[in-house]
Symmetry: none
Subunit: 207 residues, 4 copies
């Protein structure tokens, strides 16, 4: 029982940590990473400067952990949408639905898009989605994705990892400017082209 009940101190610690995460995210997205100082974060979070260093190594540390957390949340939601979709039998459709959900989330929260995209690259994602201190048990992760792709379909890809990789980069690259600056076209106009391109890429990668 003792193992389950959290001590008051433990709860307080958790709360401090959460507040630090939340305020840091708020500041990174509004002021930008390089213009946010640790002073800003702790004063907003209502803790002392030294306390920050009890939880994080430095500013880069909290940023990377935030990317992992937020990226995970987004993927979890998109994953759920896919699983709740009715007409999602074929793999292509599932990918499109997943992508669409991610895009929609970014459209709803452009600050998040700005934050994630500016700091995103394959390395960070992989590292993030593997970091067990920030990802939730049971949630989405890349290993599961690969496995799922293999299991749920008869189709065989030359290299599913490369296919996914190319799709991820295509989507993240094109959507950033389209959502934030409506260039070269607004996201709604881009979507059909993009989805067609995704289908084309997938088709080209089938054995």
């Amino acid at each position: 029982m003792a193992g389950i009940t959290k001590s008051k101190i433990e709860v307080k610690k958790q709360h401090k940590l959460e507040t630090l995460y939340n305020k840091a995210f708020e500041l990174f997205t509004t002021k930008g990473f390089s213009k946010t100082s640790i002073s800003d974060i702790v004063s907003n979070a209502g803790v002392a400067k030294g306390t920050f260093y009890l939880y994080f190594k430095d500013k880069y540390d909290i940023r990377n952990k935030l990317i992992a957390k937020k990226g995970q949340e987004i993927c979890n939601k998109a994953y759920e949408v896919v699983n709740n979709s009715e007409n999602a039998d074929k793999l292509e459709d599932r990918v499109i639905i997943f992508t669409d959900s991610v895009i929609n989330q970014f459209v709803e929260d452009t600050l998040m898009l700005r934050f994630i995209a500016k700091n995103l690259n394959y390395g960070v994602i992989h590292q993030a989605l593997a970091d067990e201190t920030v990802t939730e048990a049971g949630g989405f992760n890349i290993a599961k994705l690969y496995q799922h792709v293999q299991e749920t379909t008869d189709v065989r890809f030359k290299s599913p990892e490369i296919a996914i990789y190319m799709i991820v980069e295509l989507v993240s690259g094109t959507c950033y400017t389209s959502i934030l600056e409506e260039k070269p076209v607004p996201i709604d106009e881009l979507k059909p082209h993009l989805f067609e391109a995704i289908r084309a890429i997938m088709a080209s990668q089938i054995i």
Copy 2:
């Protein structure tokens, strides 16, 4: 004749400017942008601090102008390669050859890749390729590209701008990690998949 000969002072100015550009590029690519200070730049360039501010507004200014210059150089080279290719009649082939040349240049100069990619987005490119103070007359530019696409082929795209945009983002996004970290696969392994994907995207966008 007098009109052609540059005054001694003009020559000196030009030389200072070039040195600043070169040293800044060197430092940005080796130390990274945010860790390079203006002090670093000027001490390397052998000029006084104040001199920097005669030529540039601040660090961001010289960075953006560098991106424009270097991006232009890369495109010019790739463009030349395309024009010198023999079996480059079809548009898809020309695009593939252009892309291949750009990738090869980045493979040769990963520092450049790191610098360009970290700072690249659609807005910066467009702005950069339009800035007449840094681009060379007669060189490659986006307007020419669109025109060329229209003129040299019977094929009609639904939206050539979107097609190009998607290809640029796909290529820049995937190649960055592939070249620098060989993930998810080394660039040579990625290339065939990538070129196939490009052909697929183009095909999907044909009317």
Copy 3:
């Protein structure tokens, strides 16, 4: 008892603050405000640069607080002199005695005069004498002065505030050059004329 004893750290802070005030005053009065840098102040005070910014917003901040502190000290002393005077029944006499004390203090400390006068104006005085972080409890302040004038005399002025204002400006304006440069006449020669003028002004303002 515990409430009275200051913690070691609090004592240290107070000491640092005092040292900053003292050294800044020393430098402002000897080198002049605009020629005194924050570097000067902190190196004289023996603290780090950043420490200055823990206590003051900038150079103007410490100057204004110094004016308030020093002005307060001067007024407190003059006020005391008035209250200890025997033949000071009539308001005019009290004002003359007060003024005389202020002038004498400036004669004794011309650096102070130079500092105060250069930076003095009605707005700063009022603000300064209202700033509770620098004025001492129980000391002189303008509200008290007005009240005192009303209470202690049968004489009624058309507008006591304007009367006081005119006297303050007359005294501060004339004494500055007289004390520092003995122009148009030395202060001792000016005094009788000045006191007569003050009496005349007061008389002219009686209802």
Copy 4:
């Protein structure tokens, strides 16, 4: 004849000088003295940096000369007003009229007031009104004033210089805040008190 006709070059020089004066005054009054740089002045005046140093020793030099010029202009106007007044037989009346004119000019041009007052003191005035390079022949000057006071009136002052001095300081000190900040009262409300005070001072100084 050659002595009278100004050469083209001479005219150009004069023009440059005037432009420098005008632009410096404009900047000093709008941006403030310490925030105006020589770069500002010359770029506004359309001359090269080096040219400034052909005419002035430094920023303080041009400031002092400007005070003299502008102060002179103000006094000349006020002097003219006095001489054109009909009911200005008595000395007190003449002084009041003169003062009133000066105040009115400042009310019309508060930038000028700010500039003059911030930089004014007895020393500067005397020096300025004595500097023949900036004051116009035939205009107002202090020597004339003293002489005038002696000649035009039967009244004898104990010390006319001290009387004038006190009046000048009283007026300049009180009007500054009154005009600019309407404190302690707006200038129109202050005026009657002030004029009464002036009359009182003058009366108190009569032998």
